[in-house]
Symmetry: C2
Subunit: 495 residues, 2 copies
């Protein structure tokens, strides 16, 4: 006789590639986003919060990796057989909104947004399928003053959250300059689209592959360590030299770099336009006091995305951290963006100039944590609550009254709500919660109208240093009149 099968219990698991954020992590991110938002608002940007779901049609084929259009999103069909999907970034929804509400929104429209985005990609170490972005974009401003403004704002935002000047650099370049260089290298024309794409992505990998690796990708191609072969752009040596020269065009000052770029783009009209724009950006930033210690022109910045049409920019953190193998390396990029003039056009047929930046929220948080560690500061933890212990199950109302008083005084406090039988468990709980003070009142204390305050921070310090000597002036617990509860707790918290 077959045994009746017990239905399998569901697995309690975060789905693969997703993660949960607890306590201090949530607070840390929320605080950082509040600081960035304040900067964005000071710059005149208004918040926008679109829904997480878009029609696949509206999202379009603008996924970062242009080789795989329509892949990479989480999508499903709704009851009308229309395809819906989770947004993969905050730019595509903005383009949709800018088109949909073009008659209601001011022009130019400055908006910022933050929130999760979703990518249906293979998860890996540090690579998740849901992560936060924080974007600011200006739609409808043809002037590169809009790009300059965003670079300045990015610089302010980084300093406001705690990245010190000198620990970061915002690098600016212009796709038009690169296009000019490609023209000079004989790579213009529609039939060279694929080659230009390969060149673009090759330059974007300079950091990772080094000059030789990029050079290989400009030519026949490159075999990586695993033996996989990536097809190159097929440029001859003369052509490749032009492109390599572009990447190395950075000079000691912005003027010199601009001068060098002007040489490289030669007679290319688009190239000259690009160089002019870079000059304007530099002048506008200078007028506001953003010098090359914060924002500099760097021709090696191209940004991988295909849709950029003008200025591109990137914020890099320049301090060193130890990687997983203990080697020093620069922290690297935490934000990037640029000008994209065709995203809104998809919907309306009319070109709408737009430019914007996206901050990688989780990377920036990681950087702040690394800096804190370096400075020897404590990790952010949420302050634990004062815990009122339960000595006598029948007097819960009394304990609740104490908690009520503390809370009304603005003090984070709670009554122990687990099984009160084992008092040790209550103190273990307080410890796990990072509680600064335990409040204790047994029958004797209740009769006398007193409570005992146990200083748990002191207790932890004593346990750590293993000597009471330095703490002997500070009692680990005190008995106080119940009427003084709030005042005494406040005093102890202020110590």
């Amino acid at each position: 006789m077959a045994k009746e099968k017990q239905p399998r219990k569901p697995r309690a698991e975060t789905p693969k590639g997703f993660r949960d954020y607890f306590g201090a992590d949530v607070i840390e991110r929320r605080d950082m986003l509040a600081k960035i938002s304040a900067v964005y608002e000071r710059y005149g940007f208004d918040p926008l919060e679109t829904s997480a779901v878009e029609t696949v049609e509206a999202l379009g084929k603008f996924l970062p990796d242009v080789d795989r259009p329509n892949e990479g999103v989480f999508g499903w069909q709704d009851e009308d057989a229309d395809w819906l999907a989770l947004r993969y970034d905050l730019t595509a929804p903005l383009a949709r909104v800018a088109a949909q509400f073009r008659n209601e929104l001011p022009t130019p429209y400055r908006r910022y947004a933050y929130g999760p985005v979703w990518r249906n990609e293979k998860p890996g170490p540090g690579r998740f399928r849901q992560f936060y972005q924080c974007d600011a974009d200006t739609v409808g401003a043809p002037s590169v003053a809009a790009d300059a403004e965003i670079c300045a704002m990015l610089s302010d935002a980084l300093e406001t959250v705690g990245i010190e000047r000198g620990d970061y650099i915002v690098r600016v370049n212009n796709r038009k300059v690169l296009n000019g260089v490609m023209e000079v290298a004989g790579l213009s024309g529609d039939d060279k689209d694929a080659e230009r794409g390969i060149v673009l992505r090759a330059i974007d990998k300079l950091d990772r592959l080094g000059a030789d690796g990029v050079r290989a990708l400009l030519g026949a191609g490159r075999k990586d360590d695993s033996g996989d072969f990536t097809k190159g752009a097929g440029l001859n040596d003369t052509q490749a030299d032009v492109v390599m020269g572009f990447m190395a065009a950075k000079r000691g000052s912005g003027e010199e770099t601009v001068a060098r770029l002007r040489e490289l783009v030669g007679a290319s009209k688009v190239g000259c336009e690009g160089v002019d724009e870079l000059e304007t950006i530099a002048a506008l930033l200078d007028a506001q006091g953003y010098g090359p210690d914060r924002i500099e022109i760097d021709p090696s910045v191209v940004r991988g995305l295909g849709y950029y049409t003008g200025p591109v920019y990137e914020a890099e953190l320049t301090f060193e951290i130890l990687d997983e193998k203990g080697r020093k390396r620069q922290f690297g990029s935490v934000a990037g963006g640029g000008r994209y003039d065709d995203l809104v056009k998809r919907f309306t047929g009319q070109a709408v100039p737009a430019t914007g930046v996206s901050i990688g929220v989780d990377r920036l948080l990681a950087a702040l944590r690394a800096k804190k560690l370096e400075r020897g500061e404590a990790e952010t933890t949420s302050a634990g609550p004062v815990v009122v212990t339960v000595m006598d199950r029948d007097r819960m109302a009394d304990y609740m009254a104490m908690v009520g008083q503390l809370r009304q005084a603005g003090i984070r406090a709670e009554m122990y709500l687990g099984n009160p039988k084992n008092f040790g468990n209550q103190l273990k709980y307080a410890d796990k919660r990072g509680s600064p003070i335990a409040v204790i009142q047994g029958g004797d204390e209740a009769e006398k109208g007193v409570v005992v305050l146990k200083d748990l921070i002191l207790g932890a310090k004593i346990a750590e240093s293993a000597t009471l000597e330095e703490w002997k002036d500070r009692p680990a617990q005190v008995e106080i009149p119940l009427a003084d509860l709030v005042a005494e707790v406040k005093k102890m918290l202020a110590q």
Copy 2:
């Protein structure tokens, strides 16, 4: 010859049933959630942010409408053929987290969470497929002190966001009392599960259907205005009388209500237990000063959800608003919750007591807006930026420098980034942005080293009242030295 078909442009549309939030709406919600979070944290609750995506297996069949398990979510299959879905509330993910991290989390675990949830339901007026919830739950606390605490916290949260005492009431009841009443009515036992479900949902509709409607649903059934028939629980008159008596058991004071409930549950063990718990909750709340002006026992509260096992509670706003037909009606429920002891058990096999509340964020925001309107207060708008106009395209750097100064002084400011040719458009833009001040500097002013500040708020007031009389002491625009820009703008903003 067939014409070549132009590919259709994608539609720029928010997907059906979804919505976008702009500017002040985003800020308003963010501020309200920050205030609620502060209350929750003071009560010792820690934030948790789970991913939006869960396995369908983990979400389970706990959708509010128990008649349609596994429907109502947005789901899809991942590459391993596992089904994933967007969370439909914040309780199911909490149950998953409580099971998954049971060895790391403190017990009891107090957590709060807010964020969007998604329902794959037919959208309707005011009914969206993505909306915000803000929840607080205590997992692992068997004592009804945890329920009492959440009721007190809910009361504090409502007052903190701006609902005045007297404009709301938190009602508490206990499912065990209802179960006791059902026992008395002869509706106990596993074979009466369906009937009990119908009774539960019928009572929950008292507000909407009135006593007669509920009575019909307790008996044979009810035909609604559209002619649709809902099958009833099939109770005979005696049985229905018992249930109806339960709903009407509320008396002038908590003690009297409790006494009446004790009569109704008679010898039912679970019923008596429920009445005892209600008594305890009332006493605990009383000890903290939460009287019946804030929190009261009300037997007509049952909450529709099947999973509640003990105390249930609900916050109702008692002030009247005008509905879409201009009739006065009470605003109604904005939050609700209760004790659910079996949600974690699904995963672990071990029953884990839990209790919690969910605030309907959008409804509470609507209520706050209605109250503001009633008090004649202005709608929340984000303060518009000071707009530096562009009189001379070649002097953008100068204008940017002014904006830079204002921003560094913490003043929200921007340069006009649209096409500057038509100056009227610049002022129209400033108007649309709700800008308080336009800064103007043409060639003449630049030569003299001055700027003109145009008071746009005053301008709007003059336009409104159509008489300059009352404003004659306050000039609509002033010419000031450029060096005084920040100081003068500050002065004007402070007026």
